[in-house]
Assembly symmetry: C2
Homo-oligomer: 504 residues x 2
């Protein structure tokens, strides 16, 4: 049947099959986090590993290399087909670069370390945890070296490239060096300025159904299409599923509705990107979201740039008061627009990254980046982690973490589960978000006024045209140049912070 298909068509058919397995995996992983009874965990994990193994096997079949070579000789391919071919080759080369035995050893070390982390983190016991992490780092170095040899880049850059194709330490440093310079004194100034503001925390209970109804209302207003997606609950909020069926989750705190709500809007930002990807390229490499920087830019553009702005809160505050009418009537001060704005823009250094505000968040990321970069190049040992962490927190945020590894270098699941090269992308995403939103407003000056009316259409039209619809057809940097006139740079982010927090 396939005898008359071109090499490119055969390759595309093969990737459709791989993509369909990926779709199944995405749904099952969502199910694991949202629905699965805990007792089913081990069997499910084995079944998912089998599925991932079969997907990997399809990806590294020798005929994939033949199709790629032959397709390169075809003269009938358009721009998107060529980009698709390039993406397919990238995925193939990465998958084939690491010997199967190393993939397995590294996966086993990651899983074992993550389990150890769950135990020892609770006990604040770094000493017994360290050997597990050492094993992870040792194998991750081997993986990075194998990838580096194939891709012709530095080992740490090869790890970053998995999450953000083309990014490197040079990309990261071009943003982090200026931020490291700007942020500490800026944060101090903001904190000093906010000292005078009295903030009233609304007190609950805020029922989960009420919070959920409000979350659904606001995510729909933001343009998330609930005909092609859902909102559910999980321990760690995430955006999963596939473009035609996006599954976002949040968690609700009955004493504080503000965090669960921003969680919904953040994940809906991810979800809108997925839903805006071009449907005709579904399951093809070029049809996927570009990478973590743009993905995080879409969630942070929605959460930080838009939904913590005065114009959005003007739209949302009456909805808050209606959703929690009993509480709002007994505490009008807590539900005033000024108080809600102050709540959502409060800057306060804290030990925990996931609780950080947008001003202090980059410090958490910069610390992790510097540490993981040095762990991978071998200039830092796992045993030195607590000491280096404490010194970094003192210097970056003025906080003391000595002896508190649980809330220090053991707080995140990333390293124990083998994710190195991921942390810096959070802040690159925040920077890209500011850059994109600035250009969106320049191109469509009606955006803020529309947001004030709860109308996201002008913003979404700009994002759809400039980000979502482009999928992986160009690099992140090219997309940013086309959309904003320049490659990724911290200028707009710094402007945004100055403007929002100091009004300058």
């Amino acid at each position: 049947m396939q005898a008359f298909d071109s090499a490119y068509e055969q390759l595309a058919g093969h990737f459709r099959r791989i993509g369909q397995l990926g779709e199944i995996e995405a749904v099952v992983e969502w199910d694991q986090a949202v629905n699965m009874p805990a007792a089913a965990g081990p069997a499910r994990a084995a079944a998912v590993a089998n599925l991932a193994f079969m997907r990997h096997e399809l990806l590294v079949q020798p005929r994939v290399a033949d199709w790629i070579e032959n397709a390169k000789a075809q003269r009938d391919l358009g721009t998107w087909e060529l980009a698709n071919l390039q993406e397919a080759e990238r995925l193939f080369l990465r998958a084939r670069a690491i010997p199967a035995a190393l993939v397995e050893a590294s996966a086993v070390a990651d899983k074992t370390c993550e389990q150890a982390w769950r135990r020892y983190r609770g006990e604040n016991n770094f000493t017994d945890f360290a050997p597990y992490l050492e094993k992870v780092v040792a194998l991750k170095r081997e993986v990075a070296q194998a990838l580096a040899d194939t891709l012709g880049v530095d080992p740490y850059d090869a790890l970053v490239d998995e999450y953000e194709p083309g990014a490197s330490r040079a990309t990261i440093d071009s943003v982090f060096v200026p931020l490291r310079e700007f942020l500490p004194s800026f944060a101090e100034e903001v904190i000093e300025r906010q000292r005078g503001t009295k903030i009233v925390q609304p007190t609950g209970p805020f029922s989960v159904p009420d919070q959920r109804a409000l979350g659904l209302r606001l995510m729909a207003a933001s343009g998330f299409d609930t005909n092609r997606g859902r909102l559910d609950v999980s321990h760690h909020p995430f955006c999963g599923g596939v473009p035609g069926d996006v599954r976002i989750t949040t968690r609700y705190d009955e004493q504080d509705f503000t965090s669960g709500l921003m969680g919904v809007l953040h994940e809906a930002g991810h979800g809108k990107y997925e839903q805006g990807l071009p449907q005709q390229w579904e399951h093809q490499p070029v049809g996927a979201a570009r990478g973590m920087v743009l993905h995080e830019s879409q969630s942070l553009l929605q959460e930080m740039q838009v939904c913590r702005s005065p114009e959005f809160l003007e739209f949302a505050a009456p909805l808050f008061r209606r959703a929690f009418a009993v509480r709002a009537e007994s505490e009008p001060a807590a539900f005033s627009l000024a108080n809600l704005q102050a709540l959502y823009l409060r800057v306060k250094p804290s030990l925990i990254r996931v609780d950080a505000d947008e001003v202090t968040y980059p410090a958490h990321v910069i610390l992790r980046y510097e540490i993981e970069r040095d762990l991978i190049d071998g200039s830092l040992c796992v045993s030195e982690l607590p000491e280096v962490w404490d010194a970094g927190m003192k210097s970056l945020l003025g906080l003391n973490t000595a002896g508190d590894d649980k809330n220090g270098c053991m707080q995140d699941v990333h390293w124990p589960s083998g994710a190195f090269g991921y942390f810096p992308l959070y802040t690159l995403g925040a920077v890209a978000a500011a850059q994109l939103y600035s250009s969106a407003k320049a191109a469509s000056p009606q955006i803020p006024e529309a947001i004030r009316q709860g109308d996201f259409a002008p913003l979404n039209a700009w994002l759809a045209a400039n980000v979502w619809s482009r999928a992986s057809s160009v690099s992140t940097q090219q997309l940013l140049v086309d959309a904003t006139g320049s490659e990724l740079a911290p200028t707009c982010f710094i402007e945004h912070l100055k403007n929002r927090y100091l009004g300058s």
Copy 2:
């Protein structure tokens, strides 16, 4: 790595992988019915078809035949290993019997016909629907012939064998001939007897959360393990998932709690069978539920034999009154034990199979069996369906369906979706349920008294030992002989009906 594994071990490893794909398929199909936004349907269907295709490919690999042949020569296999080998061969032979092109053509015809059915059923338009069903039947005949050639049985029996291994027209007739003789006059007598009983239908609304809480309470009481399963909502109730993670569903009617509740208990009966399968044989052919007859016997034993009995209703009635306290207080007559019993045992011929009581249900099944048997052997044409249906309903239940094909021969999804040989197993399941429950009570006379206290443990112990733990290690008939002393026979079912409805 596998060089030192025996042929049997390699075969078992291969089936573990196939079983793990099946586990993933089960979760995703549950998701499709319970969570998936409708717009995601086509893409999901294609992804699931791809997964099923990969599972089929694994099953029919030539090395599977080699492993089976070599394993047969092994002298170190125990009873369960030998049974596993036999089941593996059965699955392999069935999968390989049908040419790939025929599998695909038949699947496409089924899917197309099911879509046509959804459209034309609503319009009561048999004429335009018929050509689609003709195509399905024509291809199903080819499938049946291909299977029959491989298995050495009659074509219709080859279709029945897919759902209930080893069953045939002879098995079915041995039950249906006596039932066709017994039931019509018996039903008339029961209806005549019930004419004097005044039944009060409780009036709602009964809130969904209240109904769900009661359903969870009763399914847990029945022994369904909610640490290894869930209860959700879907349009058509079903029992899905896998033994370690059983997903049952129901639907709630705010005006009538009785049907949703029995739905939960029915599906929980299926679920308990799955949960009781031997965990050490998970994913192996021998570890699966034996077939549809025993599966349906477990749901009907729970729903019909136990949960509509006076002893169970004595336990449940106070829980009903507590769950719907406001309604129960305003309508005490509707919530009296006598009225609830009368409600749950009301016999009333109806056009619709899924609404039928246990006395008239077999008539619906017998009609469908006689028709599908004749469609497959070619002695009946699709175009004759409405006429034959109407004649059958008149003769079996005294009901007129002329001109009402929507509620006549077009009411079920089974035929439009290609399921032939399935209908008779519902009633064989009801018959097996009566036979098993009768033996359970003979072996453990305390069962009814325990049920009256809400204690299912003695019943479940007997079922676990005699049905669940045996999985597919023996045939259905052998299991029935071991558990009840005889092969499947309608005697106990007829006794049960006489005793329950005429008190004789």
